[in-house]
Amino acid sequence: LPVAPETENEDMHFAQKYLENFYDFKEDKSSLFKSTNLAHMADKIREMQAFFGLEVTGELNRKTMDMMKQPRCGIPDVRS
């Protein structure tokens, strides 16, 4: 099912937190370029999509968001 419209804007933030918690994503706050962080985040989305057997696109599509919103264990899926 699609995500609720009112929550759509929060998805990016939610996904970032999810990737930080479970896929060892670290935002590079020193980077001057937003694109650097976005590219890194896309890599982590790919990693997450591959783990769950989703189509690996690096994009925060509906199926990826749906998977991120499933209730789950708090232990990371990957470790640094």
């Binding site: 099912l1 699609p2 995500v3 609720a4 419209p5 009112e6 899926d77 470790r79």
Partner: protein, 401 residues
């Protein structure tokens, strides 16, 4: 399967555990049983023995806590993270924490989380297993509600734990090989019939085969909008018309809400609350996306219907007035969503207020300032403001036939 870095494991076969506190969601005896059963899953396929302590330090300390609870990972309220556990080591190692903000249950229902299933997963971490990417494995990180009667570990879980501890010393009472790969089996019926799972009821209205989209005689049980999409229900089938994809998608009700019985009588969406109400016989359920809201089903009499009303035909919500029209036979009722009460002066005759609708209504929904009423294989577009019939169409006109 996976293990933690450096493969931490208990270097002994007798491992102790202690339950530090209890969730108020369940009887203490049921918590004890769920935890013991979870340990038994792992001991049945390894040489490990688990002994419970009632005081002092145990290898695996089990507790329920909310929010920040003194470790590296705070809990996040209902949903999201359910629990976590630490790999074998001294101190916090091996400990399992459960989020008290979840609703813990003894049975597999869709209003809570089965403590046995979650505990069995977490104890896998306590013994040294990481997450598995094999769908259906216990160590898969996502909670999947499933029947826990005669629950057996997935072969991937068995391979993982035996890579750390080896097989049991004596012949196990049952084979260590999982009976069935769970990803290839359909979800079995619910463990215990609950109010939320009337699935075992026969669904007379459920067709054995999904009718063709463009069948000119196609009729529907119920129709509702949901987050910008339109869902058409008939028996166990759902036609899904979405602005996100061009084709009509075909699904079953159980795909979205596995615990709901097929054959809805009616459905409507209150979009501002992100809530859909489903009616079947004399009960109704509220869902938000995939989640069935706790406390349902409720009897339709709670909405203000007299006992003589055993089921309803159709329902539609007017987003502007916050009124929901509920159709029963040749009459309709008006339910005020703001006051959560039935309006005075109802029921009224459908034909008296909706000009041109001189019959019962099978299904209804609202879209773009119009009500769409369905009767048999026909559909009637009605202007919401003046309640006048605009045009008549075939019921499947939304399927681009």
């Amino acid at each position: 399967y996976s293990t933690f870095p450096q493969n931490p494991r208990w270097k002994k076969e007798d491992v102790t555990y202690r339950i530090l506190n209890y969730t108020p969601d369940m009887l203490q005896a049921d918590v004890d049983e769920a935890i013991a059963k979870a340990f038994q899953l792992w001991s049945s396929v390894t040489p490990l023995r688990f002994n419970r302590l009632y005081s002092g330090d145990a290898d695996i300390m089990i507790s329920f806590a909310s929010g920040f609870h003194g470790d590296f990972y705070s809990f996040d309220g209902p949903g999201g993270t359910l629990a976590h556990a630490y790999p074998p080591s001294r101190g916090i190692g091996g400990d399992a924490h459960f989020d008290e903000d979840e609703n813990w249950t003894k049975f597999t229902t869709y209003s809570g989380y089965n403590l046995f299933l979650v505990a069995a997963h977490e104890l896998g971490h306590s013994l040294g297993l990481g997450h598995s990417n094999v769908f259906g494995a216990l160590m898969y990180p996502i909670y999947m509600a499933k029947d826990t009667r005669n629950y057996r570990l997935h072969q991937d879980d068995i391979n993982g734990i035996q890579a750390l501890y080896g097989p049991p010393r004596e012949s196990p009472a049952f084979p260590t090989k999982a009976f069935l790969p769970q990803e290839t089996t359909e979800m079995p019926p619910m463990e215990e019939p609950t109010q939320m799972s009337p699935r075992e009821e026969p669904t007379e209205m459920a067709p054995t085969k999904r009718p063709e989209d463009c069948d000119p005689h196609l009729t529907f049980d119920a129709i509702t909008t949901l987050r910008g999409e339109i869902l058409f229900f008939k028996g166990s089938y759902v036609w899904r018309k979405s602005p996100y994809f061009s084709q009509i998608e075909h699904d079953t009700i159980s795909t979205f809400w596995p615990s709901l019985a097929a054959g809805f009588d009616a459905a409507y969406e209150i979009d501002k609350k992100d809530r859909v109400i489903f009616f079947k016989d004399n009960q109704y359920w509220a869902v938000s996306g995939y989640r069935i809201e706790p406390g349902f089903p409720k009897p339709i009499q709670n909405l203000g219907f007299p006992r003589t009303v055993k089921k309803i035909d159709a329902a539609v919500h007017d987003q502007n007035t916050k009124k929901t029209y509920i159709f029963v036979g040749n009459k309709y009722w008006s339910f005020d969503e703001n006051t959560q009460s039935m309006e005075r002066g109802y029921p009224r005759k459908i034909a008296a207020d909706f000009q041109g609708i001189g019959h019962t209504v099978d299904a209804a929904f609202q879209k773009n300032g119009h009500f769409y009423f369905f009767h048999g294989s026909n559909q009637y577009e009605v202007d919401i403001k003046n309640k006048k019939l605009v045009r008549k169409m075939k019921s499947n006109s939304w399927f681009d036939c």
